[in-house]
Subunit: 306 residues, 2 copies
DNA sequence: CACAATTGTGCAAAAATATTGCATGATCGA
DNA sequence: TCGATCATGCAATATTTTTGCACAATTGTG
């Protein structure tokens, strides 16, 4: 309902290059270029200008975007009120996106339950990197994002989104099956201070998360190996090459000689899972319902996994 | 920037019939019909329904319009901020509309002065009935309306418009040149209580205005004749058939044997002239400037005419 | 320092949308 | 009952948007 070209400009600022916008929005670069020009023409002032081989938003474009954020938000709200009216067909399509673990653990039961309650709704799951999740929200290719709080995300105050805590995913210590801590029903993170550690790649969000958790427990983990996937990490641990921290939500394949040891501490080492939506869209019945179901599912999963 | 179809719906509510909307907006009825249908389809619920041979807005449509009024307002404000930025071409077209007297007296000097200050601006004057003026604002075919307060206007609280008092147009008593009051420098309205009165047609805004003024002076005017145009009224008065009340702003052709007698009283009999703009548009430099110039011109005219 | 990769633009052609013209059905008022 | 008014539907048409290249500018790499 808000001019499509404003939306394009918004995504441009998010993604940086016109080509990327075209890719994401399913247009050709020419089309995006033309839209921006046409917007500039209508406003009587350029909204972007060429800088090097890229585009840079002008002061006017920035002002336009800042001010029109409210338009986007209000429209989502109106959309919700309209749907809430009950008359006619409410939105029936819902697209959930989340990082891999969420997409595997939280999202399928949510989709299933929603499909039961609203047989005519079509729930889609999109697996995407946490950063990309917000791009997807903005590009209106997803309606709800489930992400890990530690990632480089838009700040909570970003007016384009509403973020809220979903639940806290506790971290377990993953040790070889014959490790001295393997049979313990719980351990403190500091007990593993002297171990060789298997971490994610330096600079990655999970790497930072683990280092932060260790720092809180009073030590710096000695990095022995790097792994990106839980499975690789488990294999390394299984081979006796070190220990690792693994979120409880992450399921491991069978057949590794490893033990998960729950951690205690205050606060308990954990990663925070958030939901994100476009500002204003919380009023749309299907989205509101989905957020509730997500919370239910999260609570159940958390209970089951303890 | 706000969806064109929302605008069409808005004008439909104002004008009542689809055909009228088409006429006003310069479309064919088919096009308007199609737009409304397409809007309904996108929202998943009908915004209008057929009732008799006309269209009636649905509950959903009403809600939509109420809520989206803020979108229209905000957009006008943003538009103004953008223009105020100075970069690029600001709005250069300005359309003033007003009822006949205003269009003849106030608007031309305003247009002239604006054209001097902003040589690249194109100022257009549209003469229209006061009621129609607001339709023109809504249909974005005029930017500023100058109307008489007494007419059946949208209430001051109508969120679609911002109205503000421009000035007070004093009413003079028009009497034959040989009338006992003709040479008086001022008179009280009650002194004409026993005269035969020349009024506008019953039910017309000006008829009501005059009756109200007389009522405030403590009498009911005895209606002798009816005239719609000032010129006709002056001719009747000139012929000795009665007296009339005429706004000072209204210029009369030469050659009538009549005298204008200023009225005193508390309050002085007068009609209030208002300006109206679309909500939010006050921030647009050209509109703001035009409102100022209008006030200047009004003040000068008022001073000159006293 | 040349070269390959990447980025945005421009323009004619193609595709998608919006609009018209006219025929039709429904309703209202005389 | 008839004529006037109103909205709709559909095929034809006009308009707008999008694509498909070819091209120019910039970056950074080997």
């Amino acid at each position: 309902m808000i001019d499509q070209r404003l939306h394009v400009l918004r995504v441009l600022v998010e993604l940086g290059t016109l080509t990327e916008v075209a890719r994401r929005l399913g247009y050709t670069p020419s089309a995006v270029s033309h839209q921006l020009r046409s917007l500039s023409k209508d406003l009587g002032m350029p909204v972007v200008e060429q800088r090097g081989r890229g585009l840079v938003i002008t002061r006017a474009g920035q002002l336009l975007l800042e001010r029109s954020q409210e338009l986007f938000t209000r429209w989502e709200e109106i959309r919700g009120e309209l749907d809430g009216l009950g008359t006619g067909t409410r939105r029936r399509q819902l697209r959930l996106c989340g990082f891999s673990t969420a997409a595997a653990t939280l999202l399928p039961p949510t989709a299933q339950r929603l499909a039961q309650r609203y047989p005519d709704s079509r729930v889609t799951i999109i697996e995407a990197e946490p950063e990309e999740c917000f791009d997807l929200l903005l590009a209106e290719q997803a309606d709800i994002a489930v992400v890990v709080a530690t990632d480089p995300l838009p700040p909570r105050s970003d007016a384009r989104f509403e973020q809220s805590a979903l639940f806290s995913d506790r971290l377990d210590l993953l040790v070889p099956a014959d490790h001295r801590l393997a049979t313990r029903s719980a351990a403190s993170l500091s007990e593993a201070a002297e171990e060789a550690w298997i971490l994610d790649r330096p600079g990655s969000p999970y790497h930072r998360l683990v280092r932060t958790a260790c720092a809180a427990a009073g030590f710096l983990p000695e990095k022995a190996h790097q792994s990106r996937e839980w499975e690789t990490g488990a294999a390394l641990v299984s081979a006796g090459l070190g220990v690792a921290l693994i979120p409880r939500l992450a399921r491991l394949p069978e057949g590794f000689d490893v033990a998960r040891v729950p951690l205690r501490g205050d606060p308990v080492p954990s990663r925070k899972i958030l939901t994100g939506i476009r500002s204003g869209s919380a009023g749309q019945p299907l989205i509101a319902e989905a957020l509730e179901v997500l919370a239910e599912v999260s609570a159940e999963v958390a209970r089951r996994e303890i």
